[in-house]
């Protein structure tokens, strides 16, 4: 009798469960019932504010006992009896706090973003594969495996990550998986290699401009190109102090006989560009002052790497300690070792070298199968990699990538940005060559002196880095280290002919000839992504150098003596706009005030009274920057946009120097799209009038203050997908060309100061938090400290200090 109502009711229940157990499209990609269930879903990730991290765990992979002491900032101090246990625990702890980040970053590096993001990421994935990211990681793996000690460390790390993953209940997986309806994937050594290749791409793939330079050459011609994009800026303050005498080049590459006609002389254009080029602002500051310049006679080392700011951060702070080694600093979740930090004897830091280590060669294939290409007078077989890209919610996309003697063919008929361009371009990139960068950090973590440091970094190939160094014995040093091709003048600035070996790299600069300096008389060394040496360095070394920060750091450090840690803190947070200091007088010299509109007259008064400090409340910085950008557009845009894609923007340093030196020789001032002949005073005036329109609009919105104008923000890794997980509107100033290099969502990703007194005194901060869990109070708790320019004292815990009140929780590990 109640059969019908039962059937209806049961069907309604089943229907409801069914509807709540499946994703609802892109807006609600997760099964809502499971997601909301307090016992299964996101509520499980709502970590209690007073959560107790204490644990007692047993793993069969461990050889001995170990302890992880978590301090009040959730920094783990890992104490193990041997190296393998140490890196097992580093892997375990990284996974515990950063699993989703590690998984997502390495999937993206491998070209598997579509598995998470769906069809929108297919072209990104194809490009990652065509960049040969996996191929590069495989080559790195071969090197890693050649050395049994290194294999043991990386394998221990992998086991640690997996031990954590396997211990997770489904309800405990990071909340991002629940939001995306995905699951974590097991770790493997190649994923660590992929992470390091992600860093290689971030720091050495955007430092060349071969494709767009080729367009620039077609617009300007080679001679003018050299002026518009000069190798050595007049105002350069190089890393290696001026006046350093370099040895004659150990290798002298020979320019091919056809270069003038087939290479420099051609006017062809490239219609393709990479989709995901690394941020141009990826860079950093580091410097070290010797005891002769400090108040107490001990060196101080400083480093702040400028990278995309994200939640969670690219960095994870920790201490790694065994009876034979002890290091503290920041690590990269996904890799063992401390990457930037100090031990009981030395401290080190890195900035990017900005060197160009990637060149493009035009390839001629026999037919569409791409199986053979013309090289040295005959058809050579190409190695073919078939790529399978699994796309979430769709099928599988296939791609075929041909590998030549140079490397993978990134662009061809099936992969280029415009249909009209079907040229085949192979790339030669040092990131593809086998190398084991991880071991540099293993050795640095244990280095005791200058010789150990030089030995540790000498095998570091890619991405080229400026390793700054200080020791407790008083040595300071810097090396620009990497594997850099020895180029003939002009080689690799543009796409090169690839039908024979004549344009290929002829060798590498011998490691000992890399620019370096030790204990200079002046008592300090610095690097800030500028060209490492002046024109007396005997090699042609193109790159995407950034000049102004180096000038500013040098300017401040040379004037200082009796330096203290607080002086260094102030310098890392310095807002002085060195470039504006040079450029603004030029603007004010040429502007015709009578030709300014009412708004512009108001703004010019503000900028005249400006003290060149780009602090958060500065209005002068906003006005100057808009005026300058408007002027640069007026000078260059008509010229560089003659090709599609556009030729590169000349460096602002170049424009400033040109205007300051001799504006009459700058023929690009005239707008080629108008009939009249523009002069500098005309365009400087018009630039401010134009900028005033947008400035007035910003002012009406209350956004004339620099921090409101640029809205400094730190996004979650999924960016626009999870806007509520971001921190926006941070009250900081700065800019990419200023020492405190904060842009909209990029800047000092870790600030560290190490004072080399007998009991190391170190300070650091990064703009995020130790926990990757958006439901944890440790997710973003460092941000306010970072915004204020303040630091945490870094605690190098001793084995005897287990009872210290800074230890909040103890995780005990044992074999079992």
């Amino acid at each position: 009798m109640r059969i019908v109502p039962f059937m209806v009711s049961a069907a309604a229940t089943a229907g409801l469960v069914w509807a709540l157990n499946k994703p609802w499209g892109s807006a609600v990609p997760m099964p809502l019932g499971k997601f909301l269930s307090p016992q299964h879903g996101f509520w499980q990730n709502a970590e209690a504010a007073g959560y107790d991290f204490t644990a007692d765990l047993k793993f069969p992979e461990l050889k001995g006992d170990a302890s992880v002491y978590l301090d009040e900032r959730l920094v783990p101090h890992i104490f193990a009896e041997n190296d393998e246990d140490l890196y097992f625990l580093q892997g375990y702890i990284h996974a515990k706090f950063r699993l989703f980040q590690m998984d997502l970053q390495t999937k993206a590096a491998e070209g598997r973003a579509s598995e998470i993001a769906g069809a929108v990421a297919v072209n990104f994935d194809r490009e990652q594969r065509r960049l040969g990211m996996k191929y590069a990681a495989e080559n790195a793996m071969k090197e890693m495996e050649k050395d049994p000690a290194s294999l043991a460390m990386f394998s221990a790390y992998t086991k640690g990550v997996n031990a954590y993953i396997h211990s997770l209940k489904e309800s405990e997986i990071p909340v991002e998986y629940k939001l995306l309806n995905a699951k974590p994937e097991a770790w493997s050594n190649i994923r660590t290699a992929l992470l390091l290749k992600m860093m290689a791409k971030m720091l050495s793939s955007g430092t060349e401009n071969d494709l767009l330079n080729t367009n620039a050459k077609s617009i300007f011609g080679y001679d003018a190109f050299k002026q518009v994009y000069p190798q050595v800026p007049d105002s350069l303050v190089p890393i290696v102090p001026k006046g350093t005498v370099f040895d004659t080049a150990g290798i002298k590459p020979v320019k091919p006989a056809t270069a003038d006609s087939l290479y420099f002389g051609t006017k062809d254009t490239m219609m393709m560009a990479e989709i995901s080029r690394p941020d141009k602002n990826n860079g950093s500051n580091n410097w070290v002052v010797a005891g002769s310049k400090t108040q107490d006679g001990a060196p101080i080392l400083c480093n702040d790497p400028h990278l995309e700011l994200s939640l969670p951060s690219i960095w994870f702070e920790l201490q790694l300690s065994t009876p034979t080694s002890n290091a503290y600093g920041v690590s990269l979740p996904g890799s063992p070792f401390v990457i930037i930090g100090f031990n009981d004897s030395i401290a080190w830091g890195v900035t990017n070298s900005q060197r160009d280590v990637k060149d493009y060669f035009e390839i001629k294939f026999k037919d569409a199968s791409k199986k053979e290409y013309w090289y040295n007078g005959k058809w050579e077989p190409a190695m073919i990699r078939y790529e399978e890209i699994k796309v979430r919610g769709k099928g599988t996309v296939y791609d075929t990538v041909a590998y030549t003697v140079f490397g993978p063919v990134i662009f061809d008929e099936s992969f280029s940005n415009t249909v009209s361009n079907k040229r085949n371009l192979a790339m030669r990139w040092t990131a593809h060559d086998g190398s084991n960068e991880g071991m540099t950090f293993y050795k640095l973590n244990r280095a005791k002196n200058y010789d150990d440091y030089v030995n540790a970094i000498s095998t570091f190939d890619c991405p080229g880095q400026n390793f700054v160094f200080a020791s407790k014995t008083g040595d300071i040093a810097i090396w620009q280290q990497g594997k850099f091709p020895a180029r003939w003048d002009g080689q690799g600035q543009f796409v090169m002919p690839g039908e024979d070996d004549s344009y290929n790299w002829q060798g590498f600069i011998p490691q000992s000839e890399n620019p370096h300096a030790k204990n200079p008389e002046r008592g300090f060394l610095e690097s800030a992504n500028q060209r490492p040496a002046d024109s007396s360095y005997p090699y042609f070394i193109p790159g995407s150098y950034i000049t102004p920060r180096g000038i500013a750091i040098e300017h401040f450090l040379s004037g200082m003596s009796g330096i203290t840690v607080s002086d260094m803190m102030r310098l890392q947070n310095n807002y002085y706009n060195e470039l504006a200091n040079d450029a603004l007088p030029v603007l004010l010299k040429y502007v015709n005030e009578a030709g300014l509109n009412t708004e512009a007259r108001k703004y010019i008064e503000i900028v005249k009274a400006w003290n060149m400090e780009a602090g958060p409340a500065s209005k002068g910085q906003t006005i100057y920057q808009c005026w300058w950008d408007s002027l640069e557009a007026a000078i260059w845009k008509d010229d560089i946009s003659k090709t599609d894609p556009m030729a590169p923007w000349p460096e602002e340093q170049t424009t400033m120097e040109w205007l300051a030196r001799d504006s009459s020789s700058l023929s690009y001032i005239d707008n080629i799209n108008t009939q009249e002949t523009e002069t500098l005073d005309m365009i400087v005036t018009t630039a401010l009038n134009k900028a005033s329109v947008s400035l007035a609009q910003k002012e009406a919105e209350g956004k004339l203050e620099w921090t409101r104008f640029k809205n400094p923000s730190i996004y979650h890794l999924i960016k626009d997908g999870l806007p509520a997980f971001a921190r926006k509107g941070l009250n900081v100033g700065g800019n990419g060309n200023i020492i405190n290099a904060v842009t909209h969502s990029h800047g000092p990703s870790w600030r560290m100061i190490v004072h080399m007194v007998s009991e190391t005194e170190a300070y650091g901060v990064y703009p995020a938090g130790q926990s990757g869990n958006p439901g944890s109070k440790y997710y973003d708790n460092f941000i306010d400290t970072w915004v204020k320019g303040e630091y945490y004292k870094l605690w190098m815990m001793k084995a005897t200090e287990t009872g210290d009140k800074k230890v909040k929780w103890v995780m005990k590990f044992g074999k079992g």
Partner: protein, 115 residues
């Protein structure tokens, strides 16, 4: 009295089931309780509904208190519920309540059809 017993039993059994089984085990729990503690369909629905409203709502509210609403505000802004943590707790409670309510009603009908 029967109603209160049904509510308490549903919440308890659903909680226990949630420790071992998937989230939708709450429907089965409510169904079983409705079989054991027979009430008319409407009352059974209300008992299942109330049981899970209390369990999921209370559970979520307690977690949220402990968490100081750090996560709920982010999720409530993402779903989108205007960043309102209380509303997210209510939605959580309602979803559990509806599923259990229908489960319980089915149980009630099944038992009455067996008579």
């Amino acid at each position: 009295m029967k109603f209160i017993v049904a509510v308490i039993l549903t919440a308890s059994l659903a909680f226990a089931a949630g420790l071992w089984f998937d989230w939708w085990s709450i429907a089965i729990a409510a169904f079983i309780v409705a079989l054991l503690v027979h009430q008319k369909a409407g009352k059974a629905f209300l008992a299942g509904f109330t049981g899970l409203f209390i369990l999921w709502g209370g559970f979520a509210w307690w977690m949220d208190m402990q968490n100081e609403s750090i996560l709920s505000k982010k999720i409530a802004a993402t779903l989108p519920l205007g960043g309102n943590a209380i509303l997210l707790i209510v939605v959580t409670a309602l979803v559990g309540a509806l599923v259990a309510g229908f489960g319980a009603m089915s149980g009630s009908y099944l038992r009455s059809s067996n008579k």
